[in-house]
């Protein structure tokens, strides 16, 4: 088990190196423009040359990359070209905002979609149709539209929640909850839509299997069959969807953060790439890769815990 985790983590690190190398190579083609952007509107070729040299961007690309890697391994991710903000500080600060929204949205989505999915698979009938209807609506209505509607209703008309901005949890828990409420609702709607359908599907598959019939014939109560046996087996595919959902929410966060003016990870990464802020882009890449790798690892481990067949020894 330990060897397995170590192997997975090692693969993750190799992946991180590869992804950052490719990112760096892609960025290296526009270093001149990055320097011009740093210099601002007054950039002239006469200024760009020396500045590029001062920033060390004139060296061979591989040397620069290895230099960056060397510093990164020691925890020094550098500072932003434009604001001089420390990359680790900047990225973790913004990651905190995004994660606080996504994790809460994810927990709510899981609880609600498991309940809905199991209910509609086990009961069928009206419950099933309602759950499917909800899921369909969640799929069809774009999150952005829900966001705008909720802001208009709850923030502007009723003035119940703030329309924009973020207050850190440590500063004021009440305001924190208020600032993330609408973004969380928006993510939860699509999260529930995606996961309910998945859980319902795998539950129906499980409930049709032979072992369920055997259990029934033995007189095991339905509740026990559904929760102890079928749900446990259906959890595997649902877990995969869950980890995908997490990543999808990260992508959706970019839009959500813009609509609510939240200082989050997505909008930060987006702006850094528009500006060509190389140290920030690289930092964002490292954090994203590590997050995806560890998330997949956790998903696999949980899967193994749920399903002995998927266990790795």
């Amino acid at each position: 088990m330990v060897a397995y985790i170590a192997r997975r983590l090692a693969t993750g690190l190799v992946l991180a190196v590869l992804v950052t190398l490719i990112t760096f190579l892609l960025l290296s083609t526009s270093f001149d423009r990055v320097v011009a952007a740093v210099l601002g509107p007054a950039a002239t070729p006469a200024l760009i040359g020396p500045t590029k040299e001062r920033m060390g961007l004139d060296r061979p690309v591989l040397v620069q990359y290895l230099d960056w890697l060397g510093h990164t391994v020691r925890g020094d991710f550098g500072t932003s070209y434009f604001t001089s903000e420390d990359v680790v500080h900047a990225v973790t600060g913004r990651l905190g905002v995004t994660l606080s929204i996504i994790l809460i949205a994810l927990v709510i989505s899981v609880v609600v979609s498991v309940a809905l999915g199991v209910l509609s698979a086990a009961r069928g009938g009206v419950a099933d149709r309602v759950a499917q209807g909800l899921s369909l609506v969640g799929h069809l209505v774009p999150g952005l539209l829900i966001a705008i509607g909720l802001v208009f209703a709850l923030a502007i008309n009723l003035q119940l929640l703030p329309a924009t901005g973020y207050t850190p949890l440590a500063e004021d828990p009440g305001r924190w909850a208020a600032t993330i409420a609408i973004p969380v609702i928006v993510l939860v709607v699509s999260g529930i839509a995606n996961m309910t359908a998945q859980i319902r599907g795998s539950m129906i598959d499980e409930l049709r299997k032979d072992y369920v019939r055997t259990l029934r014939s033995r007189g095991i109560p339905t509740r026990s069959i559904v929760y102890r046996h079928a749900l446990r087996n259906a959890a595997g595919p649902a877990l995969t969807v869950l980890s995908l959902e997490f990543l999808q929410m990260f992508g959706a966060a970019l839009i959500i953060e813009n609509v609510f003016a939240l200082p989050g990870f997505g909008s930060y990464a987006f702006n850094a790439s528009i500006q060509g802020d190389v140290p920030i882009i690289m930092g964002v890449t490292v954090f994203s890769v590590l997050m995806v790798v560890s998330l997949n690892l956790v998903a696999d481990l949980v899967n193994g815990w749920l399903n002995p067949k998927a266990r790795i020894h």
Binding site: A36, S84, G93, V151, A163, G165, Y166, A261
Partner: protein, 507 residues
């Protein structure tokens, strides 16, 4: 004071403490009771580094101009006023500028503001590559003969210099912290506010607290200024509607909705020029552009009135000029110079030997998007084929790679327009195009220290540039400022600089 009894000593202590209390707790000196209002401003882009050599003008200036003092101050009518410099005087040949500093100014660190600090800051900007360096091209040396006097020696008269000293180049940094890495995020200045690092979230929210010991605190009615970065226009609008932000600029369609919601709307005309820049006038990449008839033909191909009505929703005015409509250089009659007349334009093209037209490569970016179809159509009408080349938003178009480009630029004071767009070494004169006639006019304007005379020369410059069709300006656009509550917007469009003195926070 000699205090005899123990009781008396206690009384004195109590009086002293009571006298000090308001100073420390409320932070307002008794002599000048400025307002205690707060102002929350919504801007669209986060500021760069606050290092004085990295300062950018535009909306970022709201923050840094509150932290740093500038030597001069450009008021809301774009008239230069004393600020950190109480007075200034040019020598007769306009090659020596002497500034007298106000006495008693202090940095937020407590250190006094001296001429040496001014010299250190300007010298550093002059020698460090950055956005402000090019404004100091004429500067030869800075002297600080005594604590209150700064002398700038110039290699040539520079009409752009005074204006620059009211902006980034006039900032006074604290020599003790200027080169510290902290300056980028936590600057020390002598301005009316200090940055509240505790409450500030980089890239998202900047909180400024007014200094109690600032010499001109009365000019800043807001005790606390919060600048919130809200890149999305709808989000900014929502923040205005819900009262999270007191002031911000909005789109034309949002302006009406804001008014209906009971907010104050102020439309400011002429804040930017939408310009189709015929940069390659020398014909380096597009030989046809060297012919003034072709450039005039392009000017006559555009139906400017229709562009204003249909593309920018009536929120602007047609123009053929690059200058700020409120600057002395602007001549309303020049706008009749190139009426929309494709037939006449085609005749001009034929005269120039381009009856069969030619093609132009034009960069397509976020800014050009809305006018691309119109430009393509207008040029096609006179035989010119537009080949749009997509350019990512972070890439410049004023680089000398493109013979023409569309740009929307803020209207700056006339000397700055000349300095950047028309001067041979101008930063937005990508082909460094020049003519002896215009150079002579530019030099003449530079050597003139009399404002009326200078205004006349700028009008001549403008007439020359429009006559020779150096550009094909299409429209000046307006801004819509929405404010709520007691906050009012004081800008007139004459001064495009973003300082918090364009807002009155009320009492």
């Amino acid at each position: 004071m000699h205090v005899r009894s123990r009781k008396a000593r206690w009384t004195v202590t109590a009086v002293v403490v009571a006298a000090l209390l308001p100073l420390t707790s409320c932070g307002a000196p008794a002599s000048t009771p400025p307002g205690s209002a707060t102002l929350t401003l919504g801007v669209q882009a986060p500021p760069n580094s606050f290092d004085p050599v990295q300062l950018l003008e535009g909306q970022q200036m709201y923050i840094w101009s509150a932290i740093y003092d500038t030597l001069l101050y450009s008021d809301n009518d774009a008239v230069l006023r004393p600020n950190a410099a109480e007075s200034w005087q040019y020598s007769d040949d306009a090659r020596k500028l002497t500034l007298k500093l106000r006495s008693g100014m202090k940095f937020s660190s407590g250190a006094p503001v001296t001429a040496a600090a001014v010299k250190t800051t300007i010298d550093r900007t002059k020698t460090t590559p950055g956005p402000l360096q090019s404004n100091l091209g004429s500067l030869q040396s800075v002297e600080a003969p005594d604590d209150g006097t700064v002398v700038l020696n110039l290699s040539r008269p520079d009409p752009n210099l005074l204006g620059s000293l009211a902006q980034g180049n006039g900032v006074i940094g604290d020599p003790a912290t200027l080169t510290s890495p902290n300056t980028a995020l936590d600057p020390v200045g002598s301005g009316p506010y200090t940055l509240d690092r505790q409450a500030t979230v980089n890239g998202s929210k900047y909180v400024l607290q007014r200094r109690v010991d600032y010499w001109n605190a009365a000019a800043y009615p807001a005790k606390t200024v919060t600048v919130r970065v809200i890149p999305d226009r709808t989000a900014l609008f929502n923040a205005l509607l819900s009262g999270e932000v007191d002031a911000g600029s909005v789109d034309a369609n949002q302006a009406q909705a804001a008014q209906k919601a009971g907010l104050t709307l102020k439309r400011v005309d002429g804040t930017a020029v939408g310009e189709f820049v015929l940069a390659d006038r020398g014909g380096k990449l597009a030989p046809a552009l060297a012919d003034v008839r072709v450039r005039r033909a392009i000017n006559m191909a555009f139906d400017r009135k229709k562009i204003v009505d249909k593309i920018i929703g009536g929120l602007g005015q047609p123009t053929t000029q690059m200058f700020n409509p409120k600057s002395p250089a602007y001549i309303p009659e020049l706008n009749d110079k190139y009426p929309y007349d494709p037939a006449a334009a085609r005749r001009l093209m034929a005269e120039a030997g381009y009856a069969n037209g030619f093609s132009l490569t034009i960069p397509a970016n976020v800014m050009s998007q809305m006018v691309q179809p119109t430009i393509t159509q207008a040029l096609a009408d006179i035989g010119i084929t537009a080949n749009w080349k997509p350019v990512p938003p972070q890439d410049g178009t004023q680089t000398g790679e493109y013979p023409v480009y569309f740009n929307i630029a803020g209207t700056v004071p006339a000397p700055r327009t000349v300095n950047s767009k028309l001067a041979p070494a101008g930063s937005t004169n990508p082909f460094k195009f020049q003519t002896p006639e215009l150079n002579a006019l530019i030099d003449k304007a530079a050597a003139t220290t009399d404002a009326d005379q200078a205004g006349e020369i700028y009008r001549q410059i403008n007439t020359y540039v429009v006559d020779n069709a150096w550009f094909a300006p299409l429209f000046t656009s307006s801004s819509n400022w929405v404010t709520r509550g007691k906050v009012t917007f004081l800008g007139t469009g004459a001064n495009p600089l973003s300082t918090i003195r364009t807002f009155d926070a009320g009492k």
